[in-house]
Symmetry: C2
Subunit: 355 residues, 2 copies
């Protein structure tokens, strides 16, 4: 007997939901089960265009998706300003959650989501796909290797993509009432996550935004950067921007090795992703960096959906507890994001990172 797949319901017809729908379709343990939009016509069109099965439920509201008892997981690709409302409601309706990033406008909002998830025993995961690429686990092995990498000393992260004129005027990511955290909430989320990831999720002591952020007329960040400082002397910097060419870098430097990856957000070649490492090379030993290639049949977004579905299945069928590492990681990312924002607002003063 075939296993019962985990049933996904989607709130809204955001662009990113197209990619996610494809991933849900391709993941072996999940199905596209329902979609809700404030416009039933839009929902129908979206379902037709994105491989929903004929049996899929098409709803004219978000509430209807949450009220459908057969929906296991709700995917929320709504603007950030709507996250707390819909994610909390979904959790209360016992729906597991896949929430787009940034997870909230601030950590206080996110804590409401986490509390609702905990009170209702549902799994939370944010939509940071690259965490699920098998390359990420492979890079982790290198960073954890005390012989090859040693102790982490510094991280630099950079994520930019160029918004065109239309994007910079109309996209929800440049609108204060929608994704009000702008480039910091969008591109910066990934940078912060990559830095946390490299430090094995150790929160920095302080965060200091860099001078020179670019802010639009409505007060939304289009480009900014920050430095981060840890108790043990580690430091990191990142730059995120809607105004520069597509660049997706992590550089992690230890006492004995260095890691470079230039496509951490979305691999240039999804099925054969690489990163480079150098170990213990001094000035006098000439050697080229090693190219480490990780192949995968499933794209990172499919891996993400598969992992979430696996966790949800285990909760449903075995009474397992939700995996806390995912909301914990999201929360730490949001904490730093809040601190960067606070540092900008305070004229680039260092900000203690709250617990």
């Amino acid at each position: 007997m075939a296993e019962t797949p985990i049933r996904f319901g989607i709130l809204g017809c955001a662009d990113i939901a197209r990619k996610q729908s494809k991933a849900i379709n391709l993941s072996p343990n999940s199905i596209l089960y329902a979609i809700g939009s404030r416009s039933l016509d839009k929902a129908k069109k979206f379902a037709e265009e994105n491989g929903f099965p004929a049996s899929a439920k098409i709803y004219g509201s978000y509430e209807a998706v949450l009220d459908d008892p057969d929906v296991d997981v709700v995917y929320v690709p709504l603007p950030t300003s709507l996250h707390v409302q819909w994610a909390v409601l979904a959790a209360k309706k016992k729906k597991h959650l896949l929430l787009e990033k940034p997870v909230a406008l601030n950590v206080a909002e996110f804590d409401q989501i986490v509390e609702a998830c905990e009170a209702n025993g549902v799994q939370f995961m944010d939509g940071t796909m690259w965490m699920h690429h098998p390359r990420t686990a492979k890079m982790n092995e290198f960073l954890s290797d005390t012989q090859r990498f040693g102790q982490l000393k510094a991280v630099q992260s950079f994520f930019s993509f160029p918004g065109d004129d239309y994007f910079l005027k109309n996209n929800i990511r440049v609108k204060p009432g929608l994704d009000g955290l702008g480039a910091l909430g969008d591109a910066g989320w990934y940078c912060i996550r990559s830095i946390l990831w490299a430090t094995n999720d150790e929160l920095p002591k302080t965060v200091t935004a860099l001078h020179g952020p670019v802010i639009n007329e409505a007060g939304v960040i289009l480009a900014c950067g920050s430095s981060l400082q840890w108790e043990d002397g580690k430091t990191a910097t990142f730059h995120c921007s809607f105004l520069s060419h597509l660049t997706m870098d992590i550089t992690a430097v230890g006492t004995k090795g260095t890691l470079h990856v230039h496509d951490f957000i979305i691999p240039f070649d999804e099925k054969s992703a690489s990163f480079s490492t150098i170990c213990q090379i001094g000035f006098k030993e000439r050697a080229l960096p090693s190219q480490n290639v990780v192949t995968t049949d499933l794209s990172q977004e499919v891996c993400m959906v598969r992992e979430l579905s696996r966790l949800v299945k285990s909760i449903k069928e075995n009474g397992s507890k939700p995996e806390s590492k995912w909301p914990s990681m999201s929360r730490k990312t949001q904490l730093i994001l809040d601190a960067v924002k606070a540092s900008i607002d305070k004229g680039f003063e260092p900000v203690q990172v709250g617990a």
Copy 2:
């Protein structure tokens, strides 16, 4: 008739002078002509070990090298604290100058050197070898290409190498009275130069040191970072350190393209050096970065000596004026270095970059 080569005299027997001696030997238009050390025995030994011709002059003092009328160029690899004294004296003796970096302890000192060079019509060049690698010119072409690279938006530079226990206790680079600028003067010099290079030598408006520099008991910087801001919104960051694995990165991001190089200080393979570029790639077009390989028969240090000798020859034989771009570049690098130091001293406040 063979051309007369340019005659180099070296002050002192520093380690770096071994590499430079080899370069002078290999450069087609220069010869190792003299060496002076406070110890005649050390000078003799150095000359024997480093390919000086039998006819080379071995002196028991620096002054004697400067007083030798046949020395064209003096190479000064002395500790930074001695630069102003010996470089000014050399210029007054009409010697052209190859001066190790950092060129001085501060720009006021360096200005004395520049004034002496100008007053005596001698060429000045600092020992930043990578500027002379043909790869650098090739990377320049990319950065200047408005179609492929667009307008520069951000630069990240990183240069670290791990000092061992002996280095961190005894090297002149960690001694306040010798190379008192520490990792900022040594590794940071290269980072600052790389950022200036990427901006086509445009000075930033402000420089703000990053929190968290590592400073030894004697007050010398072992690791630090800074951000830089330009009038037009460009930004840059760098990190320099004696405490991390060998890492030698420049990332330059424009509106239409991105450049990465991971061995800008000393190419992994000196004769076949590469850098990678990506242009106009959005999320939906999957493409790999281009690897650009530049081959050269002469190492970058030989290219440097050859260029300096060419300039000196032209001054000697054709009455040309010294090329001002080299001291100008050194001065701008030192100005930023001073501003980073000042920002650290002022508690990480932004510092205006003096003209």
